[in-house]
Symmetry: C2
Subunit: 197 residues, 2 copies
């Protein structure tokens, strides 16, 4: 794999924009080259195929989510504080790298089977960070006896939905969006603890 | 618009399957004809274009959501009971018409601008059913003072996420999935009422 160069990053950014706007399948290498004022042929000096561009975008999005949320998940905090901080970090990635996040979430199914399997495994590991934070809260009695698997899926579906509706010019900041999501979910989790101690 | 015939419905079903598996942009009219053992040319006796097939699938999904959830939203129930029944009805559509629901949710962005605007308006009306049920609960004091708009978006993002992970052979029935979602959200809403009366 080539090392990351500014040119390579420009190519990935242009590809991310087009994959998001038109979908991966409807975007050609020529379209990406055109967006960069390049010839299709010279693009191939930087990337081997359209799928490699999708792969690079998906991997950098997955890396980003892990880099931001992983250390919080591994930290020593109460489950409620940890989950709130994880939600904030996830929303920060979705809103600041919105194009990549949307491509990661919607277009990864167009990867080859082997790469799709790798990403499915990474997504499951990542979801595991949320499952574990919820399980910790259930074990400590901070949260009620909820199903960590389903609850983690519900939280991540809602947080990932933000990639489809977030507009930077809207009237809610990413921090406010994150806090409202955290309030909603933590209220449910901690309330379950009070009603079913 | 042609009236719905069994043949037309078969065509829409085949298109829905392919649009979901490969994405709209990567599916050709020839692929759809091939799946039906038809010639591309004879398919055009039934539908005018690939986009018309997408439009038919998206409209029938939107109609289905409205037909199932609309009457509940208009009924005379407490907000908590109404919202639970609306969640059940929405999940029933997502799980029983999963292909159509996934195409509706993921591929509608490939419609022409005018049709996309029509669907955006229908989706906003539909989301309005959830916003109003939440507002009713806030007004009656059943629910805490939450933001109905954001809460409706969170609930629908989570419920629509089910279209991406639901497997009929999995160990949770649609009714159980719906009830766990309803429990999670209603606990949050009613708990907010108790902590901020």
């Amino acid at each position: 794999m080539a090392t990351e160069t500014p040119r390579r990053q420009q190519i990935e950014d242009a590809a991310s924009t087009l994959f998001r706007e038109r979908g991966y399948a409807a975007t050609s290498v020529r379209d990406i080259a055109h967006a960069l004022d390049m010839q299709g042929g010279s693009l191939y000096a930087h990337v081997a195929s359209k799928e490699d561009m999708l792969w690079a975008i998906v991997v950098r999005a997955a890396d980003r989510f892990n880099a931001e949320v992983g250390p919080i998940a591994a930290s020593d905090r109460t489950a409620a504080r940890k989950l709130r901080k994880m939600i904030r970090a996830h929303v920060a990635v979705v809103t600041s790298a919105q194009k990549d996040a949307a491509v990661f979430l919607d277009e990864w199914r167009f990867l080859s089977e082997e790469r799709r399997a790798q990403i499915a495994a990474r997504r499951d590991d990542y979801e595991g960070l949320f499952r574990r934070a919820i399980s910790e809260g259930v074990a400590s009695g901070e949260f009620g006896r909820v199903d960590p698997r389903l609850t983690a899926m519900v939280i991540l579906s809602a947080l990932n939905g933000i990639a489809t509706w977030y507009r930077p010019e809207g009237n809610l900041t990413p921090a406010a969006i994150a806090d409202r999501h955290a309030d909603l979910f933590l209220r449910s989790l901690t309330c379950a603890a009070r009603t079913h101690p």
